[in-house]
Assembly symmetry: C2
């Protein structure tokens, strides 16, 4: 999946921006906002979904409401830098539901993880029981989040 996307015109962009902000808008309302007929808006939106420009629509849940008040970022360094080593680690991480994001990075770490748990005690359990025993992990560095300053969930376009 590259920039192998067909060009989007001004109306498509407007639809994307609007649905990114309010994903549950009715088609009728959306059509008004972007100044096209409901039929056209419906067809356009359908296409944006079908062709993968919109990958999903999700409700954002207040973390504290479901007992996940703690956010932790973790830097991970692996033992070896072989494709097999990376592959094993990634597979194992995908199975950990507490890990929201996992990115392979260039820099002082091999991976950066974003993790949500109930509290610090919960994180310590996760860390000692799961994280440090993930395949190939040499070292981890933990960054407890003390304040979530910004979490936009929106792409800047």
């Amino acid at each position: 999946m590259e920039d192998s996307f067909k060009a989007l015109d001004r109306i498509d962009i407007k639809i994307l921006r609007t649905l990114q902000a309010e994903g549950r808008l009715t088609n009728a309302e959306l059509a008004q906002r972007v100044s096209v007929s409901a039929a056209t808006c419906h067809r356009r939106t359908q296409r944006l979904f079908d062709e993968g420009f919109i990958t999903g629509v999700r409700a954002e849940i207040a973390p504290a409401a479901v007992g996940l008040s703690a956010l932790v970022m973790v830097g991970v360094v692996l033992d070896r830098s072989t494709p097999e080593s990376f592959g094993e680690f990634e597979s194992a991480v995908l199975a950990l539901k507490e890990v929201l994001d996992c990115n392979l990075v260039a820099g002082d770490f091999d991976y950066l993880l974003k993790i949500r748990v109930r509290d610090m005690a919960d994180f310590n359990k996760l860390h000692s029981a799961k994280l440090i025993s993930l395949p190939g992990v040499r070292q981890t560095r933990t960054f407890f989040v003390m304040k979530e300053v910004k979490e936009s969930g929106r792409l800047p376009f």
Copy 2:
């Protein structure tokens, strides 16, 4: 706002989980999935929005589709650790649309930023023109993301 949320029963949780996965479901469909009548489902869902359990619903856009293929994580260290210093930095960061997330952390950095731009050239421009001149910044450390292994957008509950 803490865990000062009223208790959610099994049906509320089901609604949250379902809408987190498919935010654009019709109320009728949602009602079937959680096995209640449409009227009940409607009232429940309304309440989950009104009381802040659901903070929003957003369409997820494929980054490459809107020319934002590069993801970069940046660790930031400030000059001084005073409340004023933190405050100024945070205000300035909130105004940068390229910064998707910003978290105050405990550890080797003061802040961790998540940034989306078109490409590395774009990041270098942003870095030299904006990031290093944010108020109070002593040092930054850049982690280019080479592979997005996981980006769930969903809370593990």
